[in-house]
Structures are given as C-alpha cells and as structure tokens.
C-alpha cells in the first residue's frame, strides 16, 4: 500500500495533466480546482509517507546487502535495450525533499490562480515540472534519475518565456541552456559510471557496491560534480539564476529556486560523492574556493541590486553556497547541515518568491526603490516577507539557523586549510546577508507610502494560506529539528561511511 502510494507521487501530477487534456482552456476554474486538488493530494500523501519513513527508522532494509537503507523499494526492468530499470525508493533524505517539493508545488499552484495566458498549459507544465522533481528525488536508477533530471528543461523554458515578465525569453533561455549544459556534463559521466564501475548496471546501489577506478574518478568526479552544481548555481555557473528567476512567473521561481536548485546539490551528494568518494576527497577541498564567490560575494551583489527577484536570486546563490560548504566538509554534521539547508532553503525561498510574486501582482513593479511603506497596506504579505527575510538571515527559530549552524560546525571539522578559510569567511558573512535583507525589507515595506499605492489590498485567503503553511514549515523545522536530524542522519550515515572508507584519509570528528 505504501509502495503504491509512493509510486503514485510522480504519477498523480502526470495523470492530472492527462485528465485535463480534454477540458477546454476556458474552464479555468475547473482546471485550477483539479490541479489544486491533485497537488494537495500529493502533499498529504508525501506527508503521510514521510511519517511512515520516520516510524520505520531503525528497522533494517529489505535487502541486507544494500549500502542504503531504502523504504518502499520498487525495482522493475524498464528499458532492456540499455539495461535501465525503474527503481524508486525512499530514505530520510529524499522523503524530506519530496515533502518539500510537495509543499512548494502546492504553493506554486495556489499562487498561480491569476496567471495571465493559457492557464491550462501553464498548470500542465507545473505538474510536469513537479513530476520531474519528484522523479529525481525518488529514483535510484541513474537513467531514470537523469530522465527526470533533464525533463525540467522542457517545462522551464516554456513557463518562463511564455508566462514570465521582463526579459523572459533571455532569462528562460539562459536558465534552460545553462541547466542543459550542466546535465550534459552529468550525462557524459553517467556512461562512464555504467561501464567503468564494472557493475554494468544503472542501479545506484549496485554501483555503490563496486569501487570505481581512480583514473576514471579523477576526471569524472569534477565533471559530474560541476554538472550538478550548475543547477545549484555554484560559481562560476551561477549566472543563469538571477536572470532566470527574475524573468520567471511566481510559481516557477518558487519551484526553480525552491526545489529545482536542490536537485543539483542532491545529485552531488547522492550520486557524485556517494559513488566516487575517493575523488571527492581529492577534489572537494579545492571546490570550496569557488564558494568564496557564492557565500561571501553573493550577498554583496544582492546589496547592489534593486530588483526584488535579483536580490532573492543572489540570496539563493549564497545560501546554496552554504550547501556546498556542508558537502565539502565531508563530515556527518556537514552533510546533514547541507541536507537540512536544502530543505530549509526550499521553504525559505519558496516563501520569498511567493510573497514577492504576490506583492508584484499588486504593485506591478519589483524595484524596491519605487516601493515603500507598503507594510501599512499589506501587513500580511509584509510580515510574510519579513519572516522570509529573517529565516534567510539565519534567525534561530527558523530552519535556516539549524541548517547553517550544522554547516558551520561541520565545515569547521574539515581540517583542510582552504575549507577552514572559507568556513570562517562564511560565518563572518552572515552580516552581509543581514544587510541586504534588512535593506530590502526596509526600503520596500517601511517608510512613507507612495501615493500610487494607496489602493493596495492585502493578500486574499488563498495567498495567506500559502504564506502561513510555508512559515509553519520553516518554524517547525527550526523549533523541533530533532526528528529531521534523525531522519537525515540515517540516510547520510551510509554516504559518510562510504566516504570515510575511501582510501585517502579525511579528517572527521572533534578535535581535543
């Protein structure tokens, strides 16, 4: 039953699209209702399954030899031509990311009620995107994984270019092509994994049981890691994200920044680092040098921007840099921090983009210099934005703080010189984050209200609901991180075990 439900996660959005095909686009209400219902259903399912995974924790996996403890494991032969299987399963890490996705998709559907243009196509694309993201997190077969991973490009361009604003074609193209560039790097190495590992299987678990030759790892790992990192906007492949996000409609920004950018980091952890730990140990201490841009300079750039979405995009860049810092730490705490940051940042940035979208819908501008004092007219949205801001700057009580503290502590345990420097810089740059977030919030929400905004109204019930739910998620993780940490620890343990078992010594544990 649970297995069926689990597999339905990605099927339901697809079915919704199919069901909606015969409905003419003029029945917008019906379409919206259907999509909302399907998104809500998936949300409930995922929450239930996450609960099930939590309750199952501690019990051994069905396959004792498997290095990963997976629940709801499904393995069906699929494309026999190249030995691809349909393998899906859940562990702590991906079920939480699935839950995150379900929340963001649900929010994305709800905030898009007023989108201009052909709503039928738009919602169908959202559901397709949802399918792809669900699929990425669920699959343990590399072909399946990649199929879902690259599927996003198909939806992304259309959604941004047709429903976006500003330089939508440019932004959409930049985003899609850069992401495709990243996935092309991944694809090239995937073949290598299949053939060089000797497993002759796309099954992640099977490949993990083998040791991949070091010569192959040495070039494949950076290629694959960077490939994944492109979608998580690691410097120097971050350039797609500000333009892409700013051009995208609200729901797409939410999905892109909230869940899609995590797919890269997830891939880095789940595929690149898990399968090629030896090379990871060699390369990652150098990769952190790139984070100086993401973590330290990212916030500064955000400071210079006036467009809300650009600011948020650079904020995302810096937050995602922290994920990589956690990954590069290669300690259990760091990895857990990185995973927590994926989830936390998903909710956070979802909330950010949701509120920005709602405000933009009313003010028709995203330039913060043109706004001011709209807190008085839109207290609810304003508070939502401020909360997102506080969560973003790592205020205790919100999930961001939990994630960041894990990352900082974890990264500090990694004793390579470069990592240490970057960790220190990262800790110190929480100030810059505060600066741009407060500057934005102040300019936009506070101060005198311009005459033209006298007629603004606060969010409606639907919008408030989205904000409340996302804030609740942020708070829930922030206030009671224990269960999340437990869930993540279970799924990170095998990854860390693989890393620590790799031949080259890596520092771990606490000094003194």
């Amino acid at each position: 039953m649970d297995i069926l439900l689990f597999n339905l996660i990605w099927v339901i959005p697809l079915l919704t699209v199919l069901v909606c095909i015969p409905i003419p686009a003029s029945h917008a209400k019906l379409l919206r209702g259907l999509h909302t219902a399907s998104a809500s259903a998936v949300l409930l399912m995922v929450c239930y399954l996450a609960y099930r995974v939590f309750m199952l924790s501690g019990t051994p996996a069905s396959d004792a030899a498997s290095p990963l403890v997976l629940r709801f494991l499904t393995d069906i032969p699929w494309l026999t031509m190249f030995n691809a299987h349909y393998i899906v399963g859940a562990d702590g890490l991906n079920i939480l990311l699935l839950a995150l996705t379900a929340f963001i998709v649900w929010g994305g559907v709800l905030v898009s009620y007023n989108i201009k243009g052909n709503q039928k196509v738009f919602f169908a694309l959202i559901q397709l995107l949802a399918t792809s993201v669900y699929g990425v997190y669920m699959s343990f077969d590399l072909v399946l994984f990649f199929v879902f991973y690259e599927m996003e490009a198909l939806c992304m361009y259309l959604m941004i270019a047709c429903y976006g604003s500003g330089r939508r074609d440019y932004g959409g193209k930049k985003l899609t092509l850069t992401l495709a560039f990243g996935s092309s790097m991944i694809l090239a190495t995937l073949f290598g994994l299949y053939f060089e590992s000797g497993a002759n299987s796309w099954n992640l678990i099977e490949i993990a049981k083998t040791t991949i030759p070091m010569e192959f790892q040495m070039w494949a790992f950076p290629l694959m890691f960077m490939g994944f990192a492109v979608s998580s906007s690691l410097f120097p492949f971050h350039f797609w994200s500000p333009d892409g996000h700013s051009a995208a409609p609200t729901a797409v920004s939410m999905l892109a920044a909230g869940v899609m950018m995590k797919m890269g980091a997830y891939g880095c952890l789940r595929v690149a680092m898990f399968l090629m730990p030896e090379a990871a140990k060699v390369w990652l201490p150098y990769v952190v040098a790139l984070l100086i841009f993401n973590v330290v300079l990212g916030p500064f750039i955000a400071l210079r921007h006036k467009d809300l979405k650009y600011i948020t995009a650079y904020s995302s860049i810096s937050h995602l840099g922290l994920i990589f810092l956690g990954l590069a730490a290669m300690t259990p705490v760091g990895l857990r921090g990185a995973s927590l940051q994926m989830i936390s940042h998903g909710f956070l940035t979802g909330l950010f983009f949701a509120t920005i979208g709602m405000i933009y819908e009313r003010t028709h501008t995203r330039d913060i210099t043109e706004m001011g004092g709209i807190m008085r007219k839109m207290p609810f949205l304003g508070v939502g934005f401020v909360i997102a801001g506080f969560a973003g700057l790592g205020l205790p009580g919100f999930s961001g703080f939990i994630a960041e503290s894990n990352i900082f502590i974890g990264a500090f345990q990694q004793e390579s010189t470069l990592t240490r420097i970057v960790t220190i810089l990262a800790i110190l740059s929480i100030t810059t984050t505060a600066v741009y977030i407060l500057q934005t919030a102040n300019r936009m929400l506070h101060g005198p209200l311009p005459q033209k905004y006298e007629g603004l109204t606060d969010g409606c019930f639907r919008e408030k609901l989205v904000i409340v739910v996302l804030v609740a998620c942020l708070l829930f993780i922030g206030v009671c991180p224990g269960p999340f940490a437990d869930l993540l620890d279970q799924s990170i343990a095998p990854i860390f075990a693989k890393i620590s078992a790799a031949t080259q010594p890596v520092t771990s544990g606490i000094g003194g």
Binding site: M81, V121, L154, S184, F191
Partner: protein, 480 residues
C-alpha cells in the same frame, strides 16, 4: 534451382518492387487530380509495413533468398523504418499535390512521385539485404537516383531545379568516390562477397584497404551529410519541394547509415578498431558543424537541413559501439528521428500552406492554435534530445554505444553539443510561443487527416521513449 515457394520474409520486398508499377499504372485509368493512386499507395505501404511486422526478428544470422539476398533482424527493422518514412512521406506529400505552398507552385504527377519514393525505399531495402558489394552499390544508387529526380519534381520552381543540379553534380562525384572505394576494396580482397572480403581483411591489411575505406567513407559521407561533404544539404533541403525534403532527411539518411553499418559490421569488422578514430572524428566534426550552422537560420527547411546534419553526426556515434548495440541504437534512433522529424515537417507544412516557411511565420502560433504549438514544442524538444521525449532515449542509446567502447571524449563532446542544439531548437520554440505576431494572422486550417497525423506523431514522440518496443516486432507473434 528456382524455388517457386517464395518464403514469407521476402514477400514485402517483392510487394514493394511491383508496387510502384501498380501505382503508376493506376494513373492510366484515372484523371490527373484523382486520389486513387494515393489511396492505393497508402494501402499498399501500410500493408507492407504490417507484413514486415509479421516477420519475427532475432533469428541470428538471418535468412537468405537465392543465397545472396539476406534478411536479418537489422534488415527487417531497417525496412520498417524506411517504410515508416515512406508512409509518412506520402501522407505529408498529399497536400502539396492539392495546392502550392511556401511560394512554390502545386506539384503534379503524384503517382510517379509515389513510385519514386517507393523505388528509393526499395534502394534502402537492397542496401540492408546486400551480401556483395555490387548489390550494395546498386542499392545505394537506387536509393539516390530517385532523390535527384524528386528534388527537381517541381519543374516550375527555379529553386528546385537549381537544388537538383547541385545535388546531382555533387552526388555523381560522391558516386565516383564510392566506386573508387569499391574498386580498391575489390582490389584488396579480390572478391566482391562480404564474407570473402571479411576473411581477407582478417588475414592482413594493406594501403589498398585504407584507401578503399577512405573513399567509401567520403562517398557515403556525402549521402549522410558528414563534414565536409554536407554542403549540398542546406541548399537542396531548401530548394526541394517540402515533402521531398522530409523524405530526403529520413530515407536517404537511413539508407546511408544502413550502408555504413553493413560495411563496418560486415566486411570491415576485423579492422573496426582502426576505423573507429575516423568514425569518431567524422561524427564529432559533423555534429559540431551542423549545430553551428543551424544557429542563425531563419528559413525553416534550411534550419532543418542543418539540424539533420547534426543528427547525422550523432548517429555516427553509434557505429563506435559493439555490433548488436550499435544496430539496435541506429534503428531506434532512426525510428525516433523519423517520427520527430516528420512531426516537425507536418507542422511546417501547415504553416507553409498559409505563409512562408520562415521562423517569422511561426509567430503567434501558441495563441492561434495552442495544440499545434505544443506539437511543435514536442517535436523540437525531441529532436533536441530532452527527456522524456523519444529523442532523448534515441540519443541516449547512441551515446551508450559510443561509451560502451570507451569513447568518452566523443560522447562528452556530443552531449555538450546537445546544448548548442537545444539553443537553436529553443529559438524556434520561442518564435512559436513567445514572439508576438507582426500583424493579422491568416487563420490556419487543418484537415482532419493533418490533425490526426499530428496527434498520432506527437503521442508517439511522447510515449515511444518509455516503451522498450524493439525487443520484437509488434505482430511477430503470428509468425507466418
């Protein structure tokens, strides 16, 4: 002695052979505008396709007819691809015989047209059935010569005759190359039979062999539009009548790659390692140049020409793999490519019936007919190799072949080029989805047949990728 019990597997070939005469003959009994030839052709082609599907595949060495006509599983599936191309080709061509399009006048003589396509298809059949170089050569010529004529079909079209002239002049030079290649191969092995050539190649090599390989690859490079022999393609694709372009881009390419597959995995099998660098270089340069050329196009057919040049480069990657995988990959990819390509051409055709076939005419398509725009996006994304569309799985299979023998660099290069390809396919999608129309749009009228075909092809592009359909023929269970 002659065996009057004609074996079942040869029936489709024979049917196809006599078929053009029936179609052309039927013209004698009806008017010039009659649909009878087209209907007969339709029924016949579909019948042949179904019959082909009845042949069970995976029978190892294959079956022989009169000892030198080989029907193996690769051949059967290749025949199916060619038939699909032919069927879609005549479906597509139908409209062009009813009214002009894209500034070109209406076409005439549909029966002969269908006959020529059938002949070209038969040429492909011959290539995959060949057991000796002579048959192979003749097959290739049969597949090519009707294409010259088809290109010049529209006699009132200046561009068509120009294209045909360029095509046949260059094609003849390529034939000369090929003949040189064959002659040296013959000189090297002293025989025309593949088995004997293979034995000779296995015992030792000589410069004659390599000169032969060089000339053969250069000659077929022309037909497969490999670098730098592709130069005819953009001009001919643009100048030829649109249905001919469509057929050209699929049938001709399928025949050429089948020719290479037959050669590389047949007589040249023992020295395949030595040829692999050449294949890899041809593949790499071709797909790169094709992609580069397509970047800034504005006319749809010329754009599709460059796109198909790039696709030829991709498909060459498969030749680097182990035989069985490579052949499966080639077939699979051709099938997918045929479907996606025809889908694109069908849409361009509809546009072309009302406007010029340029990027600019696509503007506002998503507002005018969103389903058409969706179909266009599907075909473009499939050609670009974006999952979950069939094009992705096709390309994946090709790269899988390349990687199976360790050609990671080439695969990486090809995959990176995919990004470039995505760039220009997106340009086209952008025209249809994003750009505002210049002014008033002439309404697009789709016939039921057009709509049906577009839906059919779109659905195929979407679901083909998921289905492992190549394990056997669809109807092979009947086993006649």
């Amino acid at each position: 002695m002659f065996d009057f019990n004609i074996p079942g597997f040869i029936v489709p070939d024979i049917l196809l052979l006599i078929f053009p005469f029936i179609v052309i003959g039927s013209r004698l009994f009806c008017s010039a505008q009659s649909k009878v030839p087209w209907r007969i052709a339709n029924i016949g082609f579909i019948a042949i396709f179904v019959l082909l599907n009845l042949i069970p595949i995976a029978t190892g060495e294959g079956r022989f007819f009169i000892t030198n006509w080989r029907v193996d599983d690769f051949g059967v599936l290749m025949r199916e691809v060619l038939m699909v191309s032919a069927i879609l080709g005549i479906w597509f061509a139908k409209d062009y015989f009813e009214h002009g399009a894209d500034g070109k006048p209406q076409m005439h003589q549909i029966a002969e047209f269908i006959g020529a396509i059938a002949f070209a298809t038969f040429g492909g059949f011959t290539v995959v059935s060949a057991c000796d170089m002579l048959t192979l050569f003749l097959g290739l010529e049969i597949a090519t010569i009707p294409m010259y004529a088809l290109t010049a079909w529209n006699k009132k079209d200046q561009l068509g005759s120009e294209a045909a002239t360029k095509y046949i002049l260059m094609g003849s030079v390529a034939t000369a190359f090929e003949l040189f290649g064959f002659s040296y191969l013959y000189g090297f092995a002293g025989s025309l039979h593949f088995s004997e050539i293979q034995a000779a190649v296995a015992t030792g090599t000589s410069p004659l062999l390599w000169v032969a390989v060089l000339f053969l690859f250069c000659g077929i490079g022309f037909k497969l539009t490999l670098f730098p022999f592709y130069t005819w393609a953009p001009d001919v694709y643009e100048g030829a009548p649109t249905p001919v372009t469509a057929v050209l881009s699929v049938t001709s390419k399928a025949t050429a790659i089948a020719f290479l597959a037959v050669l590389v995995f047949g007589p040249l099998q023992p020295v395949i390692d030595k040829i692999n660098p050449l294949i890899a270089l041809l593949a790499g340069t071709t797909l790169f140049v094709g992609n580069l050329g397509a970047l800034k196009q504005s006319r749809l057919r010329r754009f599709m020409a460059y796109s198909s040049i790039a696709q030829a480069g991709y498909i060459m990657v498969a030749l680097l793999g182990p035989e069985a995988t490579a052949k499966t990959a080639i077939i699979y990819y051709l099938f997918v490519y045929a479907v996606s390509n025809y889908l694109a051409f069908f849409i361009f055709g509809i546009i072309g019936h009302h406007r010029e076939e340029t990027f600019a005419s696509l503007r506002g398509l998503s507002k005018q007919d969103v389903n058409l725009a969706i179909a266009l996006a599907i075909s473009m994304f499939s050609l670009a190799g974006i999952p979950p569309l069939a094009g992705f799985f096709g390309k994946f299979h090709l790269f899988f072949c390349g990687a199976a023998n360790g050609h990671y660099m080439l695969v990486a290069f090809a995959v990176l080029n995919n990004v470039l390809a995505l760039f220009y396919y997106i340009q086209l999608i952008k025209s249809a989805w994003v750009d505002e129309p210049d002014g008033h749009l002439t309404p697009l009228r789709l016939t039921k047949r057009q709509r049906g075909v577009i839906i059919l092809l779109s659905v195929m592009v979407v679901i083909l990728g998921f289905l492992p359909f190549l394990s056997n023929n669809v109807f092979a269970g009947f086993n006649f």
